[in-house]
Symmetry: none
Subunit: 211 residues, 4 copies
């Protein structure tokens, strides 16, 4: 949302020297802090530069805009949150759907809790910046595809109700979990953590019609 002269936006090239890479990393880390405390709209490039202890102009040697650095910050987060579980135990086909769902919910729950401040800002930016919304929807689709595949698989095995559309169900259940955690951690509806997770598990399992 440029106010001054129309933007030309030289997209900076990736850093080549080691010093450049370090500065860039400092900026990303500073940006995360600033976004978490100020929100996206109120975050100032000046604050980010200050927090990173670099000059104002240095920001623009590394990122073309506030949106761009936010994308970077969010991407790092997404990578952490939706990383295939290294052990991938909860994906182990040997385990029952119930076990796998509970495992999956717990991991998401813990990730969400740890990153609640930033998740709140992500909600905000999603409502404001179309490019970022697209990025997030992409992640959503990837996750939905994964869940959808699992649901279909279970349907084929007769473990899950066939009345539901796997793709829609994947979206809906992810929405339920995500949104409930938002309410829990961001809005601050004060409910017992374990109770929330337990109820989410039951609802998820029931929704899918798992025996």
């Amino acid at each position: 949302m440029p106010r001054g002269r129309p933007a030309r936006k030289n997209t900076p090239t990736p850093p080549v020297t080691e010093r450049g890479a370090k500065t860039r990393a400092r900026l990303v880390s500073a940006a995360r802090e600033v976004f978490e405390t100020e929100g996206f709209i109120n975050a100032r490039i000046a604050s980010i530069a200050r927090a990173a202890k670099v000059a104002y102009g240095t920001f623009y040697s590394h990122f073309p805009s506030k949106e761009a650095i936010f994308m970077e910050v969010a991407s790092e987060l997404f990578e952490e949150m939706f990383r295939e579980d290294p052990a991938a135990e909860h994906q182990d086909p040997a385990k029952s759907p119930r076990e796998r769902l509970e495992r999956s919910n717990r991991i998401y729950y813990e990730n969400y809790k740890r990153n609640a401040a930033l998740m709140a800002i992500i909600e905000q930016v999603e409502q404001i910046d179309p490019d970022f919304r697209e990025l997030r929807n992409g992640h959503r689709r990837i996750n939905a595809a994964r869940s959808s595949a699992a649901i279909e698989h279970w349907q084929e095995q007769g473990l899950v109700s066939t009345k539901i559309d796997p793709w829609i169900a994947a979206f809906a259940i992810a929405s339920m979990v995500d949104r409930t955690l938002t309410l829990q951690f961001v809005v601050g509806e004060d409910i017992d953590d374990n109770e929330v997770l337990h109820t989410l598990n039951e609802l998820t399992i029931g929704a899918l019609g798992i025996a």
Copy 2:
């Protein structure tokens, strides 16, 4: 002295003449249109005034700020959306939980669809304006209380699983429905309308463990 600097935001008094009331109503209606087409952030007071065919300053003799008129627009919408169903058929205790849930989902679905443009903006403002967020959370709590009471009632009758916490379930299921419709109508995941509603019904019913 300076004019552009807000000293203490004058809250205008409600109009006493019919003429004043009409102008105010024109402003609210114009504001809704502008918000729907421009979004909250990009909506300009100037545009609202222009759309209502009044002078710039007239806006400020009726509302103290963009936030304030948005509250009004949203309140009107909420009133429409969460109005007790006049016939209240879906609340009829004679009907089965399944029938009542399906009815309730359908009504919300239709309301949401009809007001999708504004609902999208509401999501946006909720992320931006704490006062508005509080307003919306109040609505959420009222609805959750209503649903929660029904769930509890059904649990007592043995119609619904007692493994779930009614209050959390109320929030979670409302989140699921609401968010899925957002994805459907706002984000534009292109899915068949009937399929969405049908799947939401099944998920809802399953989640509650209704036989």
Copy 3:
């Protein structure tokens, strides 16, 4: 979001480069000219920026407000006006009270005359801006303390009437001189300069009961 609304007045940091320092100095000097010709209330930031040949926004990268730059302009003036006389002859204890008072009055008179235009604005701002009033009252107290000490000293030596309270007398006599010069130079009661100074001297000396 909105740009026109002051969120938290950024207090800019002092310039670190010579270029910045020069621009800042140009602004202060331009501001003085604008204040002198337009008065404080009618002075526009735009005029100051134009007079300093910088862009509008440049003003705000050096000062947070019109009040702030005025403080700077006035501080420079006060420093000049109330600087200890370099030669400090009029403070020379060897001189008689009469000589010292006459000397002191003359210096103040000449300073006032030279800076009459700005002094008029200072009177104006003092009535309008509480922060500035505090600044000026601070100066008044410092000067009163100095005069008061001298009066007390003379009282101890039997040179000045002991019927008067030194502190109140210091304020009152300073008021008399200051205000009379305002009437003379600002309001423009057209009286002969030498006559004014001479009468002020006599009044001052008589008021203190100096033999």
Copy 4:
């Protein structure tokens, strides 16, 4: 200082009905209160109308502007403050200069104290509105003429030093008294009331060289 469309300012005619006269009086009285609490610049026509319990527009049936009603408020005050003392004792030529000055100072002191809030605003407006400044300077000259005549008279009688110019002395001493009381009652230099008056008396008497 019109902001909107250039002023045409129909100067309202004096009220002819009794109702009109009452409304007008209510406005003047309300204006005084508002000016005292808000100052001139921050006083809003709206506040004055509200305090007088009349409609906004009614103000303009009686006064063409904020300046105009302030003139009225201030004129009432001046009339009270500089009214010839009904008993005119302090003017009694039989009394000594010292007695007359002390009496005069005391009366001014008490008037000032009683009206300190409004006096402060008068200082403010004097710095802002040239018309009002002229009004006040007129009052000053009238008073100075009166004092000047007395001083001259005393000089002829050999009671007062002839080294001083009566006209300048009249202004200067009035300034001293006035300004000291401003500092005392408005700025709030916390000094004992009796001490101030006593010292002012001594300074005044000494300044004039009264034996």
